[in-house]
Point group: C2
Chain length 210, copies 2
């Protein structure tokens, strides 16, 4: 009886560690070899686990892909979104979202750059739950950006007449180009260009409306 | 003797047709399934040719990939670059390059959007001749853009103080985001956003310097 709970705890803990190791490897691999490249066999070989061991965690490739996206969302939240959410809503938070994204690219959080830029480019023409989930993540990011543009407009720190959706499109364009260019050419000037262009695009900070 | 040349001509012509059919299929497939997805078996099955038939044209996957990039370059030249080269150098040609790119995305010249945006995202972390070739094509495109920015600056139709390389980075950001967003969300507003943002970024045309 005494050994039971201890053993169950150890088993659960080992299981959680394996689960995390699988998803860590899968998120990294997906940015290099594609989300379609993370077969159960490929991930198992990457972390030195048997295919049957991996099958005890994920019974299909799609289940592994969906869990990998969820794991990448958690990393994105920790690395990009949450630090920006500590900043005041509006223009300051919008700038922090952009800055954290560029820092996440620069620090190579994933070896193949932004997980979502990379996998969205891979899945944009493949209907199904994987594409639906990637669309939802990217749309959610744009929604957070747009909410902060609107708050900044209401606060008078961005021009009220600007088209908020178009401004978010332009900011995302600069963030994604920085990611793509930095990866392809390994040239940090892409990050400098993006930072300078974002600062220009947002313009000088104006005094908040009273 | 009489049949000889005729037969050789027919053979050569059949061979050219097959060669073209292979590369047509390969460029299209590469934008959907990736340049790594165009195995000889996959392309052969797509066009209903035997693997051994396809091997008579391309003896390795990498040879097929390199020829596919070359074929896509020819399509890109015809669809995007050459029509713009008919316009006067400088600002007019720069605007035509952007407009032709967005038209090429909108018309779905490739089913998976811009061939080079798609394959660069796939290969950016894979060293070798395929990545080197994709880098060269994208760098060549940016060089053409930048030459026209500089000409426009010399002609006084773009501000002389603008950083030409950064302006090209920003224009490419808008073009690539339009491509990616249009593909992922199937929403033509991405093209409208890009067109409006490019017009804003270039600013009102000023009278040429005398």
């Amino acid at each position: 009886m005494a050994a039971g709970p201890t053993r169950r705890r150890r088993t659960r803990s080992d299981g959680e560690r394996s689960h995390r190791a699988i998803l860590d490897a899968a998120t990294r691999l997906a940015t290099i070899e594609g989300l379609d490249g993370i077969s159960i066999a490929r991930v198992a070989s990457e972390i030195g686990m048997s295919k049957s061991g991996l099958f005890s965690h994920f019974t299909s490739k799609q289940e592994l892909q969906m869990a990998t996206i969820e794991a990448a969302e958690a990393i994105y939240a920790t690395e990009v979104v949450e630090p920006a959410l500590e900043r005041p809503e509006g223009r300051t938070r919008l700038e922090a979202l952009c800055a954290r994204y560029l820092s996440y690219v620069e620090r190579g959080v994933f070896p193949g750059g932004c997980f979502f830029a990379s996998t969205a480019a891979e899945w944009d023409t493949r209907p199904g739950p994987v594409r639906d989930r990637l669309r939802a993540v990217l749309a959610g990011w744009s929604d957070v950006m747009e909410a902060n543009v609107r708050t900044a407009q209401a606060q008078g720190t961005l021009p009220a007449e600007a088209d908020a959706a178009r401004l978010v499109f332009e900011l995302n364009a600069l963030l994604h180009e920085a990611n793509g260019h930095f990866l392809l050419f390994r040239d940090p000037v892409a990050l400098e260009h993006a930072r300078a262009a974002i600062a220009d695009r947002l313009g000088a900070v104006r005094a908040p409306a009273r």
